[in-house]
């Protein structure tokens, strides 16, 4: 009981409360929002972005960022489709592994530039955002395959994406497993704690002998693999792919992570928070049309949520510092 309370204390708890509020208000307007199907859809929609958020968290904790996630996701989604065009009966597991490998390779390229060449992650990933997207489009125009439809993919692959176990979608199960593994590693492994250390104070990390370059590179590779997985899952769930899959997703992911309480300057935050952040933003997005707000608002909402979250974090921090200062003055007086 205590553990659960500790787990949900602070940021996670407030997100859960916000989530409850959104769900309540929306359900009051339209009860079908909370139907079995409604919840099913909600979790499905949140699963892919949750995977991206888990990967992004690993990076943001170390004071880095990856803006190329949307493009990497698009590239791996498109590759999944191409694999089926090459061989209609490609085994699903092969597609998944290939997608993760390609994602990891894209992450490794980003990570190498950041960790070895010391180029700021912002610049690297802003650049590769366009490089990876361009490669996808280039691939599409070189092969003339601009869209890949469900009937071109294997039945097994499609049912993998839309299937469920005991009413829980496969995608959600995968996201939950990824969340559990990442949360476990970040909490219990030395290398996980070292990611926090690198973000909390790079200089102290150096003095403590933490191999920061290696850790950051690894974080990029793991994050890339997760993004790759997300791309493949996108393909298998939606069954229709073109070269523009995932465009602009980086905003939603960064917003989810920051809303989830991961400090943009690194050093603190949890993957659980980030995933809850993703769930909250997805829920708000799904609630908008029901509440009569045009879907156009989605981008604006993501952006506004990000701004609100960092502003709140800042306000809390300032108030904390202020309180410490006042306490000190009381102690002295």
């Amino acid at each position: 009981m205590n553990r659960i309370r500790a787990l949900l204390s602070g940021r996670e708890l407030s997100i859960v409360l916000a989530l409850a509020a959104v769900v309540l208000v929306t359900t009051a307007t339209n009860p079908s929002f909370l139907s079995a199907q409604g919840i099913h859809d909600l979790f499905l929609n949140a699963s892919i972005i949750a995977l991206l958020a888990i990967g992004q968290t690993l990076l943001v904790i170390t004071r880095n960022i990856d803006l190329s996630v949307g493009s990497v996701m698009g590239l791996t989604a498109y590759m999944s489709g191409q694999m089926f065009i090459a061989d209609h009966e490609t085994p699903t597991i092969l597609v998944v592994l290939a997608g993760m490998a390609l994602g990891a390779a894209c992450g490794a390229f980003n990570g190498a530039l950041v960790a070895i060449a010391k180029v700021p992650a912002l610049v690297v990933t802003l650049g590769t955002l366009y490089v990876y997207r361009g490669l996808t489009y280039g691939w599409a125009s070189a092969t003339g395959v601009h869209q890949i439809n469900a009937d071109q993919m294997s039945q097994g692959f499609l049912s993998f994406g839309s299937g469920s176990v005991l009413g829980i979608p496969h995608l959600t199960l995968i996201a939950v497993v990824a969340l559990a593994i990442a949360a476990y590693a970040l909490h219990n492994w030395r290398s996980g704690r070292e990611l926090y250390a690198i973000g909390s104070n790079p200089q102290a990390a150096r003095l403590a002998g933490i191999p920061a370059g290696k850790r950051v590179l690894t974080a990029f590779v793991v994050s890339g693999a997760l993004v790759g997985l997300a791309g493949v899952l996108h393909a298998s769930y939606f069954g229709t792919i073109n070269a523009s899959v995932g465009t602009g997703r980086e905003l939603a992911v960064v917003a989810a992570v920051v809303v989830g309480g991961v400090a943009i300057f690194g050093g603190s935050g949890t993957v659980l928070g980030a995933v809850l952040g993703a769930l909250l933003l997805t829920t708000i997005t799904s609630a908008l049309p029901i509440l009569g707000v045009p879907a156009f608002w989605q981008r604006a909402v993501d952006g506004a949520a990000l701004l609100l979250a960092i502003s709140l974090d800042r306000a809390v921090m300032v108030r904390l510092a202020e309180r410490l200062r006042k306490e000190r003055s009381l102690r002295r007086a």
Binding site: H187, N188, W189, R190, R193, E194, Y196, A197, G199, S200, N201, Q203, A204, A205, R206, L207, A208, G209, I210, A263, G267, S268, L324, R325, K326, E327, R328, S329, R332, A333
Partner: protein, 505 residues
Amino acid sequence: MAAPDHTGVPLLELRDVTKSFQAVRALRGVSLALRSGEVHALAGENGAGKSTVVRIIGGEHQPDSGDVLLDGEHVRFSSPREAQQRGVAVIHQEPIQFPDLSVAENVFMGRQPLRTGRRIDRKAMHRRASEVFDQLGVPIDPARQTRGLSIADQQIIEIAKALVADARIIVMDEPTAALSAVEAERLFRVARGLADRGAALLFISHRLDEMYTLCDRVTVLRDGAFVVTERMADIDNDTLVRRMVGRSVEQLFPKRDTEIGEEVLVVDGLTRAGVYRDISFSVRRGEIVGLAGLVGSGRSEVVRAVFGVDDRDSGTVTVDGKALPKGKPRNAIESGVALVPEDRREQGLVLELSIERNASLARLRQVSPGGLTRQSRERALAGTWGERLSLKFGSLSDPAATLSGGNQQKIVLGKWLATEPSVLIVDEPTRGIDIGAKVEVHALLSDLAAQGMAVLLISSELPEVLGMADRVLVMHEGRITAELSRDEADEESVMYAATGNGSAA
């Protein structure tokens, strides 16, 4: 812990070590032996080379020549990590930690106890940390976040780190600079205990009385050179000072008698909750007022608020009878206040900018007739002041970073004197500069006061305050606890007030 070592082989030894940075020779032929069970003092003025010694022992720098011996064997630490693995721990004046992580994690980073499956054993980690803190006699909750801990507690964490790493050589670099009397006492107890259990300690402090209290032997450095190693009991205070300074007090502090005029800077009731409160004082024309106190007592914060870079809650600052608005450095500059800040590299200079651009930074409008900045004017300004302060430089377009600490400080002084101030505030003006430059700075301050400038001098080096000031204000925990005339002020009276024993002035 290893048993006390009486075989005579030092745990760590430096032999004839030299180290240069570009053209600057920071260390020349320094030898030093640290023995098990012994607390060894490293004494020297600002700029004598103490920090370089610390960095070589800690693996941050490698010597250009000479030897480092560990247990009598040659070693070469290529990184701080390597030094740590060989049993060296350095405790800095301001510890470098992970503010977001827990105390226990800071203590155990990189060597956390593991359970099966390479899983961190948090229980064991917290238990071990509690044990170590008990052993040190300081109750700190291992589970709390490190952010917000006092400097004294952070140092204890560093010591705990050294303990769990089984460090045998522990270097403490000015650990007491920010500590109250009680905290310093606690630290000494811990340090003594470490030595008794067989560790070799190197202790650096500005305060001689501390060395006599704690240390067994002392090595004196001057201008980067080895002077002497003596048993503490065999060297008296005056001899020690003479060895450190290497010249007479008159040479070091060329204080001139001046005519003290009317009040120029008047500070009244300055308060910032939790930082300082009810600070009132004045500085007169031709007067040098010393502001003493421990690091963290609020000295720098007060002058920063006077100058306007920091905010204040209440109180007034007037210059020549004119009130300065709060939080506006530009108004302070226009009213004739100049602040040579504490951190030369972060606050005084833009290291990557050229000398001339640094020199004109505080008076850009004066080098920009008609709104257009002229390089010729910048250069003339820098040239004039460079000459007056006998600045040594290659070219005025060289980055400030290429100069030595003393010459960098001269640029900062020149930059502020160029604003033609009537009040000059100098915060730690001789930190990290060599003795030659130090004497020049003292002479300059003396001259400026003689010409009628009002000078407010902050320094952690007591001899500097005592040698230069006409009047000494002492701060403790954000309050002025004593105001002493030149005759009343001595080492004892100032430290008495600075460690919290004085009555409010």
